[in-house]
């Protein structure tokens, strides 16, 4: 494609060469067919399906037999108090997750880097990576169990100190904290991996030179390790911001119940409830489209920032 401007003779020539390349590699294009069918059927057909957000979709009539309503679904969205609450929940949970859970893996990586006993280091890593591989169903089951007001160990401890048992999973004042804590419990160790790799990439001579200059270890962490990780930190942060509206749909679906919709219902779970629970297909597709569009915008902006400040594109 870059050769398009090389003058007419060359243009003919490249055209011929392109054709020859295609003819000589027809089997390459054959290899691509299953992947292309997958892409069109399972990725782009649903995108076409988004048009039901502008309809009053009726499952029996299908897309062609449903009435067009323009942006009525979106107007409903803007005037819905329920959606406003859902949006607030999404942003709150997401922002808590970012401000609290983003820095911790960086600190963990710095700490693990200071550990000289390899056996200890490896044991801790093996333990804290484990929850990443378990599904949210298992983890919710685990926490439901230990936090149960009847016989759960946490409440037994609270009781033994004379406190009242707390029903963590049905308390609107605690549910968001529960979501943030369990998300951290599952992923903090795992999220430290990229930062550990970033520290491992820093040249050892820098530390040696600093030690000769009399810098203590805290000083070295602050002035060498941290700046050395900075590009990775910025990149991970930009990627994280890109999923601002994804507050943890699968996690919350396995944890919540009608008692905590007020504090825990987020965009993803709301789409699920409205769409498949109440069969309000068009409205929940409109919510989903709002979600995808904002997410897309955030990623594009994030990538622009990454290009500008890090000279590095995410894709």
């Amino acid at each position: 494609m870059s050769k398009r401007n090389e003058g007419e003779g060359a243009l003919l020539g490249t055209g011929g060469r392109r054709w020859k390349l295609i003819r000589g590699n027809l089997d390459m294009y054959l290899l691509l067919i299953p992947g292309l069918i997958f892409l069109l059927l399972f990725k782009y057909t649903p995108m076409y399906g988004i048009i039901i957000a502008f309809q009053d979709f009726n499952i029996f009539g299908g897309i062609s037999g449903s009435e067009w309503v323009g942006t009525a679904q979106f107007e409903r969205l803007w005037h819905s108090d329920e959606f406003l609450q859902v949006l607030i929940n999404t942003l709150l949970i997401s922002l808590y997750k970012i401000t609290i859970l983003f820095p911790i893996p960086i600190v963990i990586a710095l700490m693990l880097n200071e550990v000289r006993r390899m056996f200890f280091k490896r044991t801790i890593q093996t333990i804290i990576y484990l929850p990443h591989f378990l599904s949210w169903v298992i983890i919710s089951g685990l926490f439901l169990n230990i936090l149960s007001p009847s016989g759960g160990i946490v409440n037994e401890i609270i009781r033994s100190f004379g406190g009242e048992p707390i029903s963590f999973f049905t308390d609107n004042g605690l549910f968001r904290s529960l979501v943030v804590f369990t998300a951290g419990w599952k992923e903090i160790g795992w999220n430290a991996i990229v930062f550990i790799a970033a520290i491992a990439g820093i040249e050892q001579e820098q530390y040696e030179a600093a030690a000769i200059d009399g810098a203590g270890r805290i000083r070295q962490m602050w002035s060498i390790s941290l700046p050395g990780m900075l590009p990775t930190i910025v990149l991970m942060f930009i990627l994280r911001i890109g999923s601002l509206l994804e507050a943890g749909t699968e996690q919350i679906l396995t944890m919540y119940n009608p008692l905590v919709y007020e504090s825990g219902d987020v965009i993803g779970t709301f789409v699920y409830r409205m769409g498949l629970g109440q069969q309000d297909y068009s409205f929940s597709t409109a919510v989903g489209l709002f979600n995808s569009a904002v997410g897309f915008l955030l990623i594009v902006i994030g990538n622009m920032l990454s290009r500008k400040f890090l000279n590095r594109s995410i894709w």
Binding site: L21, N25, D27, M28, L31, P34, G35, L36, F38, L39, F42, K43, Y44, T45, P46, M47, G49, I108, M111, E114, F120, I124, I127, I128, L130, P131, F133, S135, V137, I138, G141, L142, N145, I146, S150, G151, N155, E156, W185, I188, G189, I193, A197, G216, R217, I218, L253, V271, G275, L276, S284, T285, G288, L289, S292, A293, G295, F296, I299, W315
Partner: protein, 291 residues
């Protein structure tokens, strides 16, 4: 050599304490629920089970792992994971190979089309309607076909193929081999480690999938393990999920069953954990370096 100061000892002390706490916070919930699963029901209900089991017994665990619903769900999960992983690996590698030849006309556009789907998708409802339209509701295909290619995995394999030296392919071409032969005889045999890593990525994804079965599977005979677990753990009423008559259920220790079900569902992942840890870290690092 640098002499350790009092400050260094304090720092080390702090670091060890924090890391040990992290480890304990991760482990203790498992230990507690494991102990519950092998304790007597009265001890669980009285809140006496902490780190160690009280009134050791294995009947609850036996009841859970011999339950026919559990075994059926386990079988469904194994089936989806094995077939899904093999099919995904094959189709992802087949697609990644032509895409790794950027000089071929059209490949760049296809890559952009794939990457775009990472950032924008149809959303839950249009996907649900598609699966319905294809007649895949209550069909295990609904859990496999839409997950055959993960774009992230595709890009990792593609960049691995790009990193292989082209000289092997060129000499094979001179001897008249076509691209199919080159892929299956030369490229794939050289890609063992990356395929193992990506295979594990796919396997964990299929095994842990709970969201899609929840959307597409209603029939209890087709429920994978995660969905079965959700029914047991979330329902106060365990009877609806267990295929037992009301009389039998009088004797079922509900709290113990819940604990044992969580533990029994964790064990398969624990068994493959050493491989997971080794290959996953490699995969994550390839992904984040080459992106």
């Amino acid at each position: 050599m640098y002499r350790r100061t009092a400050k260094d000892f304090a720092l080390d002390g702090l670091i060890y304490v924090v890391l040990v706490m992290m480890g304990l916070i991760t482990l203790l919930p498992f230990v507690n629920v494991f102990s519950k699963s092998i304790s007597e029901e009265w001890a669980i209900l009285a809140g006496q089970v902490g780190i160690f089991p009280v009134g050791f017994q294995l009947d609850t665990m036996k009841f859970v792992v011999t339950n026919s619903q559990f075994l059926n769900s386990l079988w469904i999960s194994v089936l989806i994971t094995v077939i899904g992983t093999l099919a995904s690996l094959l189709i992802t590698a087949l697609t990644a190979y032509p895409l790794s030849k950027r000089e071929l006309p059209g490949m760049g556009i296809v890559i952009v089309l794939f990457i775009f789907t990472m950032m924008f998708n149809g959303g839950i409802i249009p996907n649900y309607l598609l699966i319905r339209e294809l007649g895949l509701i209550n069909n295990l295909g609904s859990l496999i076909y839409p997950a055959l290619i993960s774009v992230f995995n595709l890009l990792v394999i593609k960049s691995y193929f790009e990193s292989l030296p082209t000289s092997l392919e060129e000499s094979a071409k001179l001897e008249g081999a076509n691209n199919f032969t080159i892929l299956f005889r030369i490229i794939l045999p050289l890609s063992g480690p990356v395929l193992a890593t990506i295979g594990l990525f796919y396997a964990v994804q299929f095994w842990n999938d709970y969201f899609h079965p929840m959307l597409y599977i209603n029939s209890s005979s087709l429920k994978p393990l995660q969905l079965y677990l959700q029914d047991i753990v979330m329902n106060a009423d365990t009877s609806s999920a267990l295929d037992k008559s009301a009389d039998d259920l009088m004797n079922v220790p509900a709290e113990g069953v819940r604990s044992a079900t969580v533990i029994a569902s964790t064990i398969p992942i624990l068994l493959v954990y050493p491989f997971l840890q080794k290959y996953f870290i490699k995969g994550v690092l390839i992904g984040s370096v080459k992106g």
